[in-house]
Symmetry: none
Subunit: 281 residues, 2 copies
C-alpha cells in the first residue's frame, strides 16, 4: 500500500457535508466555551497566579473567571493551591493531553508537511531520525523533476555527512553529542566530507546560529541538502526534515528561499507532534 496522495479519498465514507465548508462559515462555535478555553489557555501560559490577577490580565470579570476555574477544577483540569491561593494546570489535563500521542506517529504527522514542502520547493523532501549514531530515513516525498535525490525510507547514513544528521547533532545536548562524535568513523565519501570532530563541531556551531544545516556534496557529489531540526515536548531533537537535490537547483541564490521553507516545515512538524522549539541560547 502506501502512496495515497492527499485528497484522494479513495476509501469509504465521509458522508454529510464535508469538513472545510464549516471552516469558513463557522459561527457554530459556542461562545461561552470559547471564553472558557481562553481562560484555560491563559492559565497554562501564566500559572501560579491568583484569580484577581488572571482576571485582570485577561480583561475579564473576576466572577466569570472564577466560575470557569471552579468548573475546570471539579474536573481536575486545573488545580488550586489553597495555601498560596493560586491556580495551576491540573494533572487531568496532562493525562488527557497525553492521549494525543496515542494516535499517530511522527511519520504520519510528517507526510502532509513533507508533501507541502516538496511542492513549495520543487525538491525531494525527507524525514529522518537519529538511530544509534546514524541517520535513519523514515519517509520522503519525491520531486517531479527527472533528476532527483533519492534516499529510500529505511536506509541508514552516517550523521556527519548528512544534512539531517547535522541538523540533529547541532541541537543535541552536549553529552549525547560527545558520545556520538566519539563513536563516529568520519568516513570520507567525497572531497567535501567533513572528516574530523573539530571541523564538524565548527559546522554545527554555524548550523545552530543559522537554524538549518547544509550538506554541500558531503555524501554524494553533485547533491546539496538543506535540513532543519524537529523537537519534542521536552525540547529535545527527535528528527530532522530536509530537501535535497542537484547543486544546480539547490544553488546559492536559492538558499534563502529553500531554507525558509525547510525551517517552516520543521516548525510545523514540531508543532504537529506537540513539541516545543527550545529557547534560543
Amino acid at each position: 500500500m502506501e502512496f495515497q496522495k492527499d485528497g484522494t479519498s479513495r476509501t469509504r465514507k465521509a458522508r454529510g457535508r464535508p469538513r472545510d465548508w464549516h471552516d469558513k462559515t463557522a459561527q457554530n462555535t459556542i461562545k461561552s466555551l470559547d471564553r472558557a478555553i481562553e481562560v484555560f489557555e491563559h492559565l497554562s501560559e501564566a500559572q501560579g497566579k491568583p484569580l484577581s490577577v488572571i482576571a485582570e490580565e485577561m480583561g475579564q470579570s473576576p466572577a466569570t473567571v472564577y466560575r470557569v476555574l471552579v468548573t475546570l477544577e471539579t474536573r481536575g483540569l486545573v488545580e488550586f493551591d489553597s495555601v498560596e491561593q493560586v491556580w495551576f494546570i491540573g494533572a487531568r489535563a496532562f493525562v488527557i493531553g497525553a492521549r494525543f500521542l496515542r494516535r499517530t506517529s511522527l511519520v504520519d504527522r510528517a507526510r502532509p508537511i513533507l508533501r507541502k514542502l516538496m511542492e513549495a520547493t520543487g525538491e525531494t523532501a525527507n524525514l529522518g531520525i537519529e538511530k544509534e549514531g546514524d541517520v535513519l530515513f523514515l519517509s520522503q516525498v519525491e520531486t517531479h523533476a527527472n533528476i532527483r535525490a533519492f534516499f529510500p525510507p529505511g536506509s541508514l547514513s552516517p550523521m556527519h555527512s548528512s544534512g539531517i544528521g547535522k541538523a540533529v547533532l547541532a541541537f543535541m545536548d552536549d553529552d549525547r553529542l560527545t558520545r556520538v562524535l566519539d563513536a563516529a568513523a568520519f568516513e570520507a565519501f567525497t572531497e567535501h566530507t567533513i572528516t574530523t570532530a573539530e571541523d564538524l563541531r565548527a559546522d554545527l556551531d554555524q548550523t545552530r546560529v543559522r537554524g538549518f544545516a547544509i550538506d554541500n556534496e558531503e555524501k554524494n557529489v553533485g547533491m546539496r541538502c538543506i535540513a532543519a531540526p524537529v523537537f519534542d515536548m521536552n525540547s529535545e531533537v527527535v528528527a530532522g526534515i530536509s530537501v535535497s537535490g542537484p547543486i544546480s537547483r539547490v544553488a546559492q541564490d536559492q538558499a534563502d528561499r529553500l531554507s525558509r521553507a525547510v525551517i517552516d516545515a520543521s516548525r510545523q512538524l514540531t508543532q504537529a507532534i506537540g513539541g516545543i522549539a527550545p529557547a534560543l541560547s
Copy 2:
C-alpha cells in the same frame, strides 16, 4: 522554592473566603462548560470516532456535541480527520496539558538523571508520582533495546501493582498510606498481583528494608521493574524512579546491579530538588 507540601501555611496572604468551602456549595460551576468538558474527556478515552457515535455514546444531541467539538477544534484542543471523518485529541491539548509539569521543576531535574540511568542499566527509566491513589507517569527515557517496557507519560496505573507505586507507598506516612490502601481496589492484573492490603503491607515492609521496590510481573506478564523513592525537603516521598524491562534482562542475577543504579538515581534526584532522605528508622 519548589515543593512546599500542602498544609504548610508558613507564607502570607490567602484572603477572602477560604477555599474548601465552595467545594461543598459549588453551584458556581458553569453547566455548559461542564458538559463540554465531558465531551472532551469522553473523546480522550475513545478517540477516532465520528460525531454520531460520540453523541450516541454520550446520550447527547449530535448538534450540541458537534458545536462543542467545532469550538474545541478552533482552539486546537481537538482535531478532525476529514478523510475518515473522525475526531481526536489535538496537539494543543497535549501542549497545554504538558504545562502541568512546569509547576515544579521535578521533571526538568529528573531528565538527565533518567537518561543516565537508562544508559547505565540499558533499560527504560521512568519517573512517576502519586496522584489521587494512582501512579501518574511523568517522564521516561526509553531504552534502545527492541523489546522494551513502555509507560507513556501521562498514563495512570494503580499503586499496588506498580514498582514506583510501591516505592512511594513504602515511604509514605501512615495516615496517607492507610487512606490510599482503604481506597484501593486491588485489581488483579496477573497471577502475581498483590491483592490484599495485608500482603501489600508485608511487601512494603520488605521494600522499606531493602530501600527499593520490585514489581515482579504484577501488572504485566513478563515485565519486571525496580523502583526507588524520591524525597522532598521535608523528607516526604514525592516521586519514584524506576527501570523496567523484560524479565529476561531484569533478572535475579542483575537485581544487585540494577537496584544500585536505581537507588543512586533516586538519591541524585532527591538531592537535585533539594530534598532530604529520611533518617532510617
